[in-house]
């Protein structure tokens, strides 16, 4: 039996992949029928609420819950004392972040939780809990936290990479690169040394964290929640609560945005424990204030860069030292920042050093290309300054130094076929690059890189008796993946898109799946969907051969039907999928295909962005006039979604560049825990973001797909900063470029 697997993805003619059908989740979302985390309910359900520390750093001397427990309507109260002890350090940190132990480590840190008959009773009960805090000195700034005498969050937790004599807040040191930096710098016509800072930002997903937990008297539990990974939630909660993974079933809701921020747990273990104690289902929903104070924003950073360039634009060496604070626990994405900082360039001498630092802030969580946008801001700003200083075209300088197939990447591997150069050439040819600019206007360009990921993936594809197809996958659909999976299944099976329905399964229905992160889903789940469809096709070939009484090798799958390979095999009219499905019960039973794989071969992805800005020199207000994203998608399965990812990443990056920031007061408390003063861009702040999809097939995927979700947030910070610099003649090295900061810089000129 032969399948028409045309493996040469670059030349393959697709029928469905590459078209733009309606998204299957669209009607539910616009009519309100879709069920998000807070829409779940259960009979007898209680409402859970969390008491949070008002102190940025404090010893918890005691917690008295007597009065709360005595309040009518209160069914359970938990503090850290109710949780089991956890040995694994990473899991112990997650537990400590969900419920503080001896110390409250940041403003908003959970210290107790209640489950009560109503939200009003629960909130009242929180007021009756008496926590005896002994406030401690605190530190929220990354550079201050690295000073040897800084208040220490966790004395003696640094790992073996950290040299002695540093602040106890330094948790790890990372180093990457090759060559000889000093020799490289010596060959330059100019060496630029600059320090950059970026502030912490939040993913800004519209849906707050929410879950409903129900633990039965037999210890079997169900959890419904809004997450990027139901298997991660299951495994983490099981580890924290000492449960077996098989006894906890987690069902993900629709998700109102995550961007990496829903790749860990906050409420879920607490809700499970409350439910266990109360013997009733417990629902918990964060307020927006809680989301800002106590979920996982990204790191704030302080970065020093040294880059040497010849006067014709060749980069002779690149060095960066990166300091990222990741909140109160180790694990800031400084490692990925250090690896990605110089990834777009072909450098003989390159080195990065990264420092992972803890501060009295919430534990950071992943945010779209974790760690990379800040590093790119620093490096791309410096390259721009050097290029402009020599009077060179910043795009040409990037082309001159661009990484290509065969380039030894700054973080180690040698690149296979990659698309950076194609995006730069497309940028150069794009009408945007040569459009005229008016007064107070400027244009910036920047490149970005992201690794992308594959990982553990399971897909089960079932053929129903009437010939429709259901696909079960284990990854919450954040970016339109149900549509993409249905398209790839339909493509492979040769049936219309409308005949396939893809659902997101609970943890009891499929094997382990990694979370929806690393831009992995269209790549890895797509690959598994295609393999599952191929398995089903093999089975259908067998069934048809059996009906025709010929050898399975004598049939072939072509255009959605089984046919005899050649006239020698007998004259049989083709059997369609629907015809085979209809008689499946008589030919051996139901037909399905499935695939379980640790998907390798996720291709790296590059993009180039062009931004035009206009600056009001009297107020420092920055307007984005025009913006173009050019990125390699490998193969765009559903181009609308690819464009949506490009646009969404650009917009988040623009917000990061211009206004978004976590602002801490002198009291160590977050000053802007809400969307009024944490300013994500609104629609009227933005032009239509123009997109150009390039398709340089990823050899690691049957259709050539690369992840596209994260790369687009990497270049905008620098693209916008470079445009502002071009418009004003002043260079801002501290993001966000908020109007007060920019006006002060313009007036100081």
């Amino acid at each position: 039996m032969a399948l028409d697997n045309k493996t040469d993805a670059g030349k393959r003619q697709f029928k469905i992949v590459g078209t733009r059908p309606l998204r299957p989740d669209g009607v539910d979302k616009v009519t309100g029928r879709a069920r998000f985390g807070a829409d779940m309910s259960a009979p007898g359900m209680l409402v859970g609420a969390v008491l949070r520390s008002p102190h940025p750093h404090a010893q918890i001397r005691s917690i008295d819950t007597t009065r709360a427990r005595a309040l009518p309507g209160v069914h359970a109260v938990v503090t850290r004392a109710d949780f089991p002890t956890v040995d694994d350090a990473a899991i112990a940190d997650i537990l400590d972040n969900c419920m503080a132990g001896d110390k409250a480590l940041y403003d908003g840190h959970a210290v107790a939780a209640v489950a009560a008959a109503s939200g009003a009773v629960a909130r009242h009960a929180l007021e009756l809990i008496a926590v005896d805090y002994a406030p401690l000195p605190f530190v929220t700034d990354v550079d201050a936290a690295m000073k040897p005498d800084a208040p220490a969050l966790h004395p003696s937790r640094a790992d073996e990479t950290v040299p002695p004599g540093l602040s106890a807040n330094v948790m790890a040191r990372h180093q990457f690169g090759h060559g000889d930096i000093e020799a490289g710098l010596a060959a330059a016509d100019r060496v630029l040394e600059r320090s950059y800072r970026t502030e912490a930002t939040h993913q800004g997903y519209i849906e707050p964290h929410a879950c409903l937990a129900s633990v039965g008297p037999d210890g079997k539990a169900d959890l419904w929640c809004c997450t990027q990974g139901q298997y991660m939630v299951r495994n983490t909660c099981a580890a924290i609560l000492g449960m077996e993974q098989g006894s906890l079933r987690v069902t993900p809701s629709e998700i109102g945005g995550g961007f990496g921020g829903k790749t860990t747990v906050f409420l879920e273990p607490v809700a499970l424990l409350l439910s266990k104690k109360a013997g009733r289902p417990v629902k918990m929903v964060m307020s927006r204030d809680e989301v800002f104070r106590a979920s996982g924003p990204t790191a704030s950073t302080s970065i020093d860069v040294r880059i040497g360039m010849t006067k014709d634009g060749r980069i002779t060496a690149g060095f960066a030292e990166l300091r990222y604070q990741g909140g109160a626990y180790p694990g800031s994405p400084v490692d990925m920042g250090s690896m990605s900082a110089f990834a777009p360039y072909d450098l003989e001498h390159v080195k990065t050093i990264g420092w992972d630092v803890v501060t009295n802030r919430p534990k950071q969580a992943a945010y779209r290309a974790p760690g990379a946008p800040m590093a790119a801001f620093a490096v791309e700003s410096a390259i721009d300054e050097l290029a402009r200083g020599f009077g060179l075209d910043p795009l040409e300088v990037r082309l001159k130094n661009a990484a290509r197939e065969g380039t030894r990447a700054s973080y180690g591997p040698t690149f296979p076929a990659i698309g950076l150069e194609a995006t730069l050439r497309a940028a150069k040819d794009h009408p945007h690059w040569s459009a005229p600019l008016g007064p107070n206007q400027g244009r910036g360009v920047a490149c970005g890189f992201w690794f992308n990921f594959g990982g553990d993936t399971c897909v089960s594809l079932n053929i129903t008796p009437d010939g429709t197809v259901t696909v079960s996958e284990g990854n919450p659909d954040i970016g339109g993946s149900r549509a993409s999976m249905s398209m790839m299944a339909a493509e492979e099976l040769g049936i219309p898109y409308e005949k396939v329905r893809t659902i997101i399964a609970d943890t009891g229905s499929l094997g382990q799946n990694d979370v929806t992160d690393g831009s992995r889903v269209t790549f890895a789940v797509g690959l598994a969907t295609i393999e599952a469809a191929r398995a089903a096709k093999r089975e259908m070939c067998k069934r048809a051969a059996q009906v025709w009484g010929i050898d399975a090798d004598a049939v072939i799958w072509e255009d959605g039907a089984v046919r005899p390979v050649s006239p020698n095999a007998g004259k049989h009219p083709p059997m369609t999928l629907a015809e085979i499905a209809a008689i499946a019960s008589n030919t051996g039973g139901p037909i399905a295909g499935h695939c379980e794989v640790n998907a390798e071969g996720a291709g790296v992805s590059f993009g180039t962005h062009i931004a035009d800005t206009e600056v009001d020199p009297e107020t420092g207000a920055v307007k984005i006039l025009r913006y173009t994203v050019l990125q390699d998608a490998g193969k765009a399965v559903h181009p609308d979604y690819v464009e949506g990812q490009f646009q969404g990443g650009a917009v988040q990056g623009i917000g990061w560049a211009l206004n978004e920031e976590y602002i801490y007061g002198d009291d160590g408390r977050l000053q802007n825990a809400g969307f009024l003063d944490y300013r994500i861009p609104v629609a009227s702040d933005l032009p239509m973001i123009d997109t150009v999809i390039l398709e340089i097939p990823n050899p690691g995927h049957p259709y050539g797909v690369r992840g596209v979700g994260e790369t687009p947030i990497v270049p905008p910070l620098a693209a916008v900063a470079n445009a502002v610099s071009h418009a004003t003649g002043v260079r801002l090295t501290h993001l966000p470029i908020s109007p007060p900061r920019l006006l002060a810089a313009i007036r100081a000129k």
Partner: protein, 287 residues
């Protein structure tokens, strides 16, 4: 918590003065309900004034306009004659929030919430508007300038509330304008606000002016020195420079998450200058 919704002003006055515990007026609720949700305010009684027909009117009075305390921002924006007389006041009211907020929010609520950054208040002060206050001891008329006394505080006595706001008659070649600075293009709170109301003579010389600033002091500022800089001038560059300087000098802002002292001080002058030019054009231009 109790919710009451009287249908006459007298009933409301009675209910307010006889309520036990904290009683708050509920107009559009776009400040109050948000503050209650955040746990900042916990009234025992909510007195909704939206059922009082008399407070829903925009009426012509002595050549000016009386605007009831329950009139929404959207209703003001749709009132062509009011917009033509007081374009700056209406644009300030219409800047509040979004389409949804405009359907609920009132100008009186914006005033009585007493935020230093309230958008309509500088425009009302520049317009020399007067609030009609009702209470257990009858009614009194109070200049809008004297209603707020500091962040979140008003000079209203217990049992009093604002029933309406009066915008005076408008002469020929008179107009007003309001500008605010926000980091975004909408859905934001003024970092600085500046309102200018002025009258020109046939030659384009400014004969009367009032200039007010928001968000640069604990309450709205009437900047008389800025008005003096305009009066008698043709609103030429030296007059505008003097106006901007007077505004920056009058500004006594705090530094907070929304802006620095320097920024607010600087931008107060910039906005006052720009608002003056808009008002000038609306008033019929230089000559």
């Amino acid at each position: 918590m109790q919710y009451i919704s009287p249908t006459t002003v007298d009933e409301a006055v009675h209910a307010l003065s006889s309520a036990t515990g904290a009683c708050r007026i509920l107009a559009g609720g776009t400040d109050l309900l948000v503050q209650m949700r955040a746990g900042m305010k916990r009234p025992d009684t909510l007195l909704d004034i939206k059922r009082i027909d008399a407070l829903h009117q925009i009426t012509a009075e002595d050549g000016g306009w009386r605007i009831g305390a329950a009139v929404s921002g959207a209703e003001m924006g749709e009132h062509a004659a009011l917009v033509s007389d007081w374009p700056g006041v209406v644009e300030a009211v219409n800047l509040i929030g979004s389409t949804q907020i405009q359907g609920r929010a009132t100008m009186a609520g914006n005033l009585c919430n007493a935020s230093p950054a309230a958008d309509s208040v500088p425009a009302l002060v520049a317009a020399n508007a007067v609030a009609r206050v009702v209470g257990p001891h009858g009614q009194r008329d109070v200049a809008v300038l004297d209603i707020p006394s500091g962040p979140g505080k008003t000079t209203l006595e217990p049992g009093e509330f604002v029933a309406s706001t009066y915008l005076p008659a408008r002469g020929a070649r008179s107009a007003d304008a309001y500008l605010r600075f926000i980091p975004r293009t909408e859905m934001d709170i003024a970092v600085v606000g500046a309102a200018v109301s002025l009258t020109l003579d046939a030659d384009g010389i400014c004969t009367a002016a009032r200039v007010a600033l928001g968000a640069v002091a604990p309450k709205v500022l009437l900047v008389e020195a800025a008005a003096r800089a305009l009066i008698g001038s043709r609103l030429d560059a030296p007059a505008l420079d003097a106006l901007a300087e007077a505004c920056s000098a009058a500004a006594k802002p705090i530094a907070d998450k929304r802006g620095t002292v320097e920024f607010r001080t600087q931008v107060a002058g910039v906005l006052a200058r720009r608002a003056t030019l808009i008002a000038q054009t609306r008033a019929g231009g230089p000559a």
